[in-house]
């Protein structure tokens, strides 16, 4: 016998095949060959119930029978039959005798003596009345069928005799080495087994076998011979017994006694190990039964219930065994891998073919090995209760959530966007493959939470009730914990008493800071520049420029922040309102609009458009300062999407008035000693052309003639046209305006022509056209002196190599188109040299290059209604 109750004999040595035949009488062998004649064949007595059982749902056994696996930790050590029980038995017997002497046999004794109660722990659950009905109902089930009641009577003697055998008896018997065929019915059948305890109480099992006269336990048997006389200890049971014939299911009506009853039944739960328990009956059933004779019920049923924790006692053995196979793991007798016939009898083995037998034996060995392994591993099983595990899971989840950040933030699309902004947006823009759209860590956490809840819910629906409750509770707890962690200032570092350094917490989001700068020091550092400025050092202007620049950049960042907020806000726009929109929706829309208004205002203020314009001031307008930065130029495109037409027009006006202050215009003319612009300025000009020009063009395009003319007038009034005309940006803006005005004018003229009105009266009827004419004249007048210098540097009008002069030709073309004949004359005079030169160069250049230049010149010539070809 091994410690764990395994059969350590090798399969080949094993005569008894485990399985249902585990109840095989271990002493059958002692009786020699003679015993075989009387031996009950398993096949004869087995009712086959076990075969009908399905193992399929064995995994649910825990749900049915309780959740806690029987483990060493969970099972008490007070599972001894030899000492305590025997003592109790003696005491009970004494009590019984006393009672008998005093009262006769009529009435059952009042409360049982205290010593009857074995010292147990862990039975508290069973004080709960809720457990009784289950057990009682099953008891009734067992008791009701008359067959079950009769069965024991058929073979009372052998059964009882067999049960009575104590360890001492066995030893004595072994010593004698004698054969007792009558007392030892060999392999005991399963079906009748649970019955004897009833029978012992009211059905005399027949005369005690003479062979057992010696052991004291035999003395206990007199009481079964007096059916009416009940030992006090069995106080709970007697009802069972007494009422057996009268009202079998009556236990349910006796809750008070039922409380004790289950205690008795409960004992198997305390058994140290399922496997032990399962093996014990096979290895030494008689001792147990013999010792237990005063409390036959308690002991006799042990084999039934040993491994099925909380399982109804009266369940027939076969089902018991079958049901336990899977869930009890270590105890189960047949590995799932064995595909051959189920061996329930040793003889079956003999009938198998050699190969099958071999396979079976190998399988057996494997299983034994496996069981042992499982057993070794399961040593620490149950160290943690499910509650403990829950607790740990919760802590882990909390950490997970906390590291992700805000709970309400995590899991929302906002969190995904902000955490993985670049990727998400980039993927949307570029249509990159999104294998896992939006799967941040937080969702893992959510998934995990859900799964855990499900798992526990599944396992606990027996006792803890609602699984949903549990999940909810857990989620609430996580939320609360995260909330609490948020509320209290996070300990970035921990100085433990006695530790040699600081322990800092870090995670992927907030890496461990290598520099530990105290906030106070930071504050001090921030304050320093201010104090230095107070000193007003001689390089004040430089400093001012730097601070100015920083200030502008800061303002720009505010603009960007507002822009992003607005873009976020746009995404949150509620669905468009319809007539049947609900009040909530309307409310949401109102709030959304209100917020939009606020953001717009913030953006507007951030742009500083409305700051007063100081004409002639050397300091550029704050808005122009913003636009002078590349960042500002880029921002403006986005700004225009979020402001209304009036605001756009305001910005445009402001820009045009302050064109002189734009860096791209200020520095837009090559320095005197050079023909080309420095690269940074070139880049800025390109950027301006790419970002702001389209915006201006859009505004011009949407404006009526009077507005366009007004803008043109502002430029003429407020800016230095000659300078402007020499810059690329200046010319392009002027081109845009003039060409737009020209198009509008043409449209008006065409309209007038369609109405057959005299051309002369046109300008009188339409004041806009007259204003345009005036403004254009002013513009031309201002422009005329600069005409020779439109192309590049002052001293190098002949530098035709610069290919980047299309804009100039375009400008000239559009000026020429808008000019009246007199102005055209002056225009041609102004640029004649350049035109001739370019045409000459173009003619001398071979192929494409020449074509290109001629084409540019032609732009201008066509504007005048001429063609390059005419020049030749």
């Amino acid at each position: 016998m091994s410690f764990f109750g395994f059969d350590t004999t090798l399969p080949r040595d094993r005569k008894v095949v485990p399985g249902f035949s585990s109840q095989h009488d271990a002493f059958a062998g002692l009786e020699g060959g003679a015993a075989d004649d009387n031996a009950l064949e398993f096949e004869d007595t087995y009712d086959g119930l076990g075969d009908q059982l399905s193992d399929a749902d064995d995994a649910l056994n825990d749900d049915t029978f309780g959740e806690q696996p029987a483990t060493q930790a969970g099972v008490g050590r007070d599972f001894d039959f030899a000492s305590r029980t025997a003592r109790v038995a003696d005491a009970m017997q004494e009590e019984q005798m006393i009672y008998h002497a005093r009262h006769g046999i009529n009435k059952p004794q009042a409360p049982p003596p205290v010593q009857y109660q074995p010292a147990k722990t862990g039975y508290e659950n069973y004080a709960d009345a809720s457990y009784i009905p289950r057990l009682e109902a099953d008891a009734a089930l067992w008791g009701i069928p008359p067959k079950a009641a009769e069965a024991p009577r058929e073979q009372p003697g052998p059964a009882a005799a067999r049960k009575m055998m104590s360890l001492e008896e066995v030893e004595a018997m072994m010593r004698q080495q004698s054969v007792h065929t009558t007392q030892q019915p060999a392999p005991q059948s399963i079906a009748p087994e649970p019955v004897p305890h009833h029978q012992q109480q009211f059905q005399p099992p027949g005369p005690p076998p003479p062979q057992f006269s010696g052991p004291p336990q035999v003395l206990q048997r007199p009481h079964p011979q007096q059916p009416g006389f009940l030992p006090p200890i069995q106080q709970a049971i007697p009802h069972d017994a007494r009422s057996f014939h009268e009202r079998p299911p009556m236990q349910a009506e006796l809750p008070g006694q039922g409380v004790q009853h289950p205690q008795i039944l409960q004992r198997p739960k305390q058994a140290p190990e399922p496997s032990n328990q399962r093996q014990q009956p096979r290895q030494r059933p008689p001792p147990q039964q013999a010792r237990a004779s005063p409390q036959p019920r308690q002991i006799l049923q042990n084999p039934n219930r040993l491994s099925g924790q909380g399982q109804p006692v009266q369940q027939p053995r076969p089902s018991d065994a079958a049901g336990q196979r899977v869930p009890t793991g270590p105890a189960h007798q047949r590995g799932p891998s064995y595909s051959g016939p189920i061996i329930t009898n040793p003889q079956q083995i003999l009938q198998l073919s050699d190969e099958e037998r071999k396979a079976y034996l190998i399988e057996e060995a494997k299983r034994a090995k496996r069981n042992h392994k499982i057993h070794m591993l399961s040593k620490d099983n149950g160290l943690m209760t499910p509650q403990d595990k829950n607790f740990i899971t919760r802590i882990q989840l909390q950490q997970l959530m906390a590291s992700i950040g805000n709970l309400d933030e995590a899991g929302s699309p906002e969190a995904i966007i902000s955490d993985d902004f670049y990727y998400q947006v980039y993927a949307q823009i570029r249509g990159a493959a999104r294998a896992h759209p939006g799967q941040p860590a937080s969702q893992f956490a959510q998934t995990y939470l859900f799964q855990t809840g499900g798992r526990y819910g599944f396992g606990r629906r027996g006792r803890q009730g609602n699984a949903d409750n549990h999940i909810q509770r857990m989620e609430q707890q996580v939320a609360r914990a995260v909330e609490a962690a948020k509320a209290k200032p996070k300990n970035k570092q921990l100085v433990i008493e006695g530790s040699l350094g600081k322990i800092s917490f870090s995670n992927a989001k907030t890496p461990k800071p290598l520099l530990n700068i105290k906030p106070a020091a930071l504050h001090h550092a921030e304050a320093r520049p201010g104090s230095a400025q107070g000193g007003k050092d001689p390089h004040g202007s430089v400093k001012d420029e730097a601070t100015e620049r920083r200030k502008v950049l800061k303002d720009l960042e505010t603009v960007y922040e507002t822009l992003m907020a607005m873009e976020d806000h746009d995404r949150r726009m509620p669905p468009p309102l319809t007539e049947e929109s609900s009040a909530d929706l309307i409310q949401a829309m109102m709030e959304w609009r209100h917020r939009l208004g606020q953001l717009n205002k913030k953006l507007w203020n951030g742009l500083r458009v409305m700051e007063p314009i100081v004409p002639g001031s050397p300091i550029p307008h704050p808005f122009i300062l913003l636009v002078n930065h590349g960042k500002g130029m880029k921002a403006l495109g986005r700004v225009f999407r979020h402001i209304d037409d009036n605001q756009r027009l305001t910005i445009t006006t402001l820009t045009l008035i302050n064109l002189d202050h734009l860096r791209v215009i200020q520095h837009g003319v090559p320095p005197p000693n050079s023909t080309t612009l420095p690269q940074p300025i070139k880049d800025e000009i390109d950027l301006f052309t790419a970002t702001i020009n389209p915006l201006l063009f859009a505004v011009f395009h949407d404006s009526p003639l009077n507005v366009v003319v007004g803008l043109l007038g502002l430029i003429v009034e407020r800016t230095t046209i000659p300078w402007l005309a020499r810059t690329k940006i200046g010319t392009s803006i002027l081109t845009l305006l003039v060409s737009r005005a020209e198009v509008l004018r043409e449209a008006l003229v065409a309209q007038q022509a369609a109405q057959m009105l005299p051309a002369e009266s046109l300008e009188q009827q339409l004041p806009d056209l007259a204003a345009y004419r005036d403004t254009y004249t002013k513009l031309f007048a201002a422009l005329e002196p600069a005409l020779p210098f439109l192309f590049g540097g002052f001293g190098h009008p002949a530098k035709t190599e610069t290919g980047d002069d299309v804009h100039v030709w375009q400008f000239l073309a559009c000026i020429g188109a808008a000019a009246d004949p007199g102005q055209q004359q002056r225009l041609v005079l102004g640029v004649k040299d350049r035109v001739m030169e370019t045409v000459g160069v173009a003619r001398s250049l071979p192929g494409e290059e020449g074509e290109k230049r001629l084409h540019k010149v032609n732009l201008f010539m066509r504007g005048l209604g001429l063609d390059v070809e005419l020049l030749s």
Binding site: D420, A508, K509
Partner: protein, 100 residues
């Protein structure tokens, strides 16, 4: 998470990874994780003469901490978007710092 997010968009693009031991490896970015560990496929070493032992290596896993630079294909970087992503990250960080 910004750089992680950023590098994710470069998956399946050619990049050159310069390691802290001066080896430059060019290859197709296969994957990147939050530690910026990098998996490259079809790699070639830029100066193969100096590091011939890598000439037979076809793909490689680089621990993020040994990377000095990653040379990016400029066409595959959306600068404006990256700027915004940076702003968001900064705003988030400062919000978190304020939150304590």
């Amino acid at each position: 998470m910004l750089f992680f997010s950023f590098f994710k968009t470069l998956v399946d693009h050619k990049v050159t990874v310069e390691l802290k031991n001066d080896i430059q490896i060019e290859g197709t970015l296969k994957s990147v994780d939050q530690y910026l560990n990098i998996k490259l496929d079809d790699i070639t070493v830029v100066e193969e003469i100096r590091w011939p032992h890598l000439s037979s290596v076809k793909n490689i896993f680089i621990r993020g901490s040994v990377v000095r630079y990653v040379h990016l294909p400029a066409a595959d970087v959306d600068t404006a978007l990256l700027e915004d992503a940076t702003r968001r990250e900064a705003a988030q960080t400062s919000a978190r710092a304020r939150q304590g």
